[in-house]
């Protein structure tokens, strides 16, 4: 866009006619201000979509990090199949789209007064606030597992330094070692993510350290795309991978990083490399602003994503319980766009239209072995987001190698498309 060099100050009082783009009542929303906290899949998608569909609304995006390192495709970095730069995205594309990006951390807000407080001492005024804070890892949930323990037993469930740490731990391990991935009970960010991670670590071990062993110590007895993953592991990795459901070992009780020890109700494991994915809750700002309810997650209106606890504040992405929608990057982006449509309508004095969402999650079981789950979502009669009946589902279990290869290619295609759409 060419208009980004102009500041808002230059345009105060500019008496342009309201455009008839999309038949929206743009004049009513002119001058409205939306502040978005968090430039991840949800927040950046919302900010960008809002600029596109309602250019008369000023959008300010608050994000402390200069680059977003995505959790999607970070499993490839862990397995040595990609570099961290390939999953890192700067914010210049968002600036070029006409969004004011402020590099700071939001620490508080007064929704009634329309003021957001920043760690650096500044304030941002808003008519509507969108909070997309992602997740917080619960370092109070597992005995012995705190932030310091995560430097030895990485979670790698927020991508970046933790991703590289787990990569380094795997590289340093001798052939014949044991790796464990500990997976939490639902709900958590990216339901199939731990199993893709197990797949790609297994690929790394089979290729480089074939006498090693991978344990997947699960807090559940069933998981996303389970049949497809178990088939793929048997086909590609054989006995190298062992999945241990909660009914077998029991829930995780404690870890001892110094000893490499993982203790569950019925078992004790001593491993060389441990990846502990702890239970989670909505990101810190959601807790601070009183947006999170019981269980630590946020409840929202399914059309506008306005908080059910704090009016005027919309919450998106992994921080919310969104009915049947999973906590995925695709779902977060889909919600961000739907929220942008709702904000454009509400700030223009109209009722938001009923949203439609899609989620497609690809997982790589091996470099040329992809699987997927896809669903279409609507707000159902229950007033909650529901999967459309008769649609959706997973890749067929009896598909041939050609389909698995296609879906592996499409996994890469998805990542290229969604990251270009959001940050490009």
């Amino acid at each position: 866009m060419t208009a980004t060099a102009l500041t808002r100050r230059h345009l105060i009082g500019t008496a342009l006619a309201a455009p008839l783009v999309l038949g929206r009542p743009a004049a009513a929303a002119a001058g409205a201000r939306v502040a978005v906290v968090g430039a991840g899949f949800a927040g950046a998608s919302c900010a960008r979509a809002l600029r596109r569909i309602a250019p008369e609304i000023a959008v300010t995006l608050i994000e402390p990090e200069a680059q977003i390192v995505t959790c999607p495709f970070s499993n490839l970095v862990i397995a040595g199949m990609a570099e961290i730069g390939s999953v890192s995205h700067g914010l210049d594309g968002l600036r070029a789209a006409g969004i004011e990006v402020i590099a700071d951390r939001a620490i508080g807000a007064d929704a009634g007064k329309g003021k957001l407080t920043l760690a650096g001492g500044g304030e941002v005024g808003f008519d509507r606030l969108v909070v997309a804070p992602g997740i917080d890892l619960r370092f109070d949930a597992i005995a012995g597992y705190d932030a310091a323990a995560a430097e030895i037993m990485p979670h790698a469930w927020k991508a970046g330094a933790q991703t590289l740490l787990l990569r380094a731990r795997l590289e340093a391990m001798a052939d014949g070692g044991t790796v464990a991935i500990v997976v939490p009970a639902n709900p958590y960010r990216c339901p199939p993510g731990p199993y893709e991670r197990a797949s790609l670590i297994a690929h790394y071990l089979k290729t480089n350290k074939p006498r090693s062993k991978l344990l997947v110590i699960d807090g559940k007895d069933t998981f996303s795309k389970q049949g497809l993953f178990l088939d793929g592991w048997a086909e590609l990795y054989g006995p190298l991978v062992e999945w241990i459901p909660v009914s077998q070992a029991g829930s995780l009780l404690a870890v001892d990083p110094a000893k490499g020890e993982i203790v569950t109700e019925f078992s004790r494991f001593v491993v060389d490399v441990a990846n502990i994915i702890p239970p989670q809750r909505a990101g810190a700002l959601a807790q601070t602003l009183g947006l999170a309810g019981e269980g630590g997650w946020c409840s929202v209106d399914p059309v506008s994503f306005e908080s059910l606890l704090v009016p005027g504040v919309h919450v998106l992405g992994d921080a919310i319980i969104a009915g049947a929608m999973p906590k995925s990057g695709f779902a977060a982006s889909s919600q961000g766009k739907a929220c942008a449509h709702a904000l454009a309508a509400v700030l223009g004095g109209e009722a938001p239209q009923a949203p439609s969402f899609i989620n497609t999650c690809y997982s790589l079981v091996g470099p040329e072995y992809g699987i997927s789950v896809a669903d279409v979502f609507r707000v159902g009669g229950s007033g909650k987001i529901e999967a459309v009946e008769g649609a959706g589902g997973t890749s067929p279990r009896d598909a041939g190698a050609d389909v698995r290869r296609d879906e592996a290619r499409y996994a890469h295609g998805w990542y290229a498309s969604i990251t270009t759409d959001i940050w490009g």
């Binding site: 060419t2 008839l20 982006s333 449509h341 899609i358 997927s372 669903d375 959706g392 290229a416």
Partner: protein, 100 residues
């Protein structure tokens, strides 16, 4: 809304003028939003998934209907197309036909 709103009219004339106007266009824009995650921004895919911008509306509507019925076999598109009505398919088809 609070008092003291500032005029913010950046990019006003730059967006989406080719799109169908009116409520139907807004519906297509909303429905098509999720397509971008795989098929790229405004249907311009940078990667392995086919671009869909500029496909004639009747061709797109036929493709989606055939994915929905199973007459055409894809990977995820059969599963996704089954979630949309004829009217919604028409709105999505009109949206992408208007993009270049």
């Amino acid at each position: 809304m609070t008092a003291g709103k500032r005029g913010a009219l950046l990019g006003l004339v730059l967006t989406s003028l080719a799109l169908p106007a009116g409520a139907e266009g807004a519906r297509g824009d909303m429905l098509a939003g999720s397509c971008a995650a795989c098929h790229g921004p405004e249907g311009q895919s940078p990667g392995a998934i086919p671009a869909i911008a500029g496909i004639a509306a009747e061709d797109m509507a036929r493709l989606l209907s055939e994915y929905r019925s199973g007459a055409l076999e894809g990977t995820v598109m059969n599963r996704i197309a089954r979630g949309f009505t004829d009217d919604e398919i028409a709105a999505i088809a009109a949206y992408f036909a208007a993009l270049r």
